[in-house]
Subunit: 118 residues, 2 copies
Amino acid sequence: MSTDLKTEECCPPAKEEFVGPLHGEEAETELASFARALGHPIRVAILRILMKRQECICGELVEELPVAQSTVSQHLKKLKEARLIRGTVDGPRVCYCIEPQALDRFRKLFDATFTTEG
Amino acid sequence: MSTDLKTEECCPPAKEEFVGPLHGEEAETELASFARALGHPIRVAILRILMKRQECICGELVEELPVAQSTVSQHLKKLKEARLIRGTVDGPRVCYCIEPQALDRFRKLFDATFTTEG
DNA sequence: CCTCTTTATCGCCTATCGACGATAGACGGT
DNA sequence: ACCGTCTATCGTCGATAGGCGATAAAGAGG
């Protein structure tokens, strides 16, 4: 319970709440917003890497992706704006991780809109 | 079984095949492509209307949407390019319907990428 | 053939995206 | 304080998105 491991306190909490209607104009805008954030191969790749690694430093993403550091940073910004990921400052680094609740919310909106009983 | 009802033969068949890898660069591009198509509120609204109505004439969509006819037509074009919908010419009209297999494919790609066992 | 209806396309405009290099800002280590 | 490292932001550029009105294209019907 000591404060030795600062590198590990990135992802766990996730206190963001994803509530809101599942139908109507607002829901459609929210769904479209998530979809837009997913709408680029690099961003999908970032999320895939974060799924595999649980958490990840920006620099590690840059190593694995075929684009420049600044470009990765901009994609991270969009993912963060869509609340699909979270970034935690850890000294000079930033630790990124997925916001699972956002993926759940996206799935809920998708299902509510595109399932026959919806 | 006669050929009286031409207006009804829009959606049923759906012989498009959605096969391909669920992982890797190609899958990520395909997933991003679907997401991009979903990434606009009007296009989500179009799909929602088509879910409700089963099939729909372009003009009916225009009536329900707050944008011009030409704009609706362009959104329909993108949805068609993403193979999320299908359009069948019926005289001077065009009957649109959802391509359910595309939604299934999208969901499969999404799950394969963003589920913990994937 | 002409006309009406319906839909797609064109042209034009503004706004946003996506990429990059360069630079700034924040932190740790010496 | 001074570096070196890591990340975000800025400025720029070309490409694409998204909107509209106007126009073209295609079929139905007189």
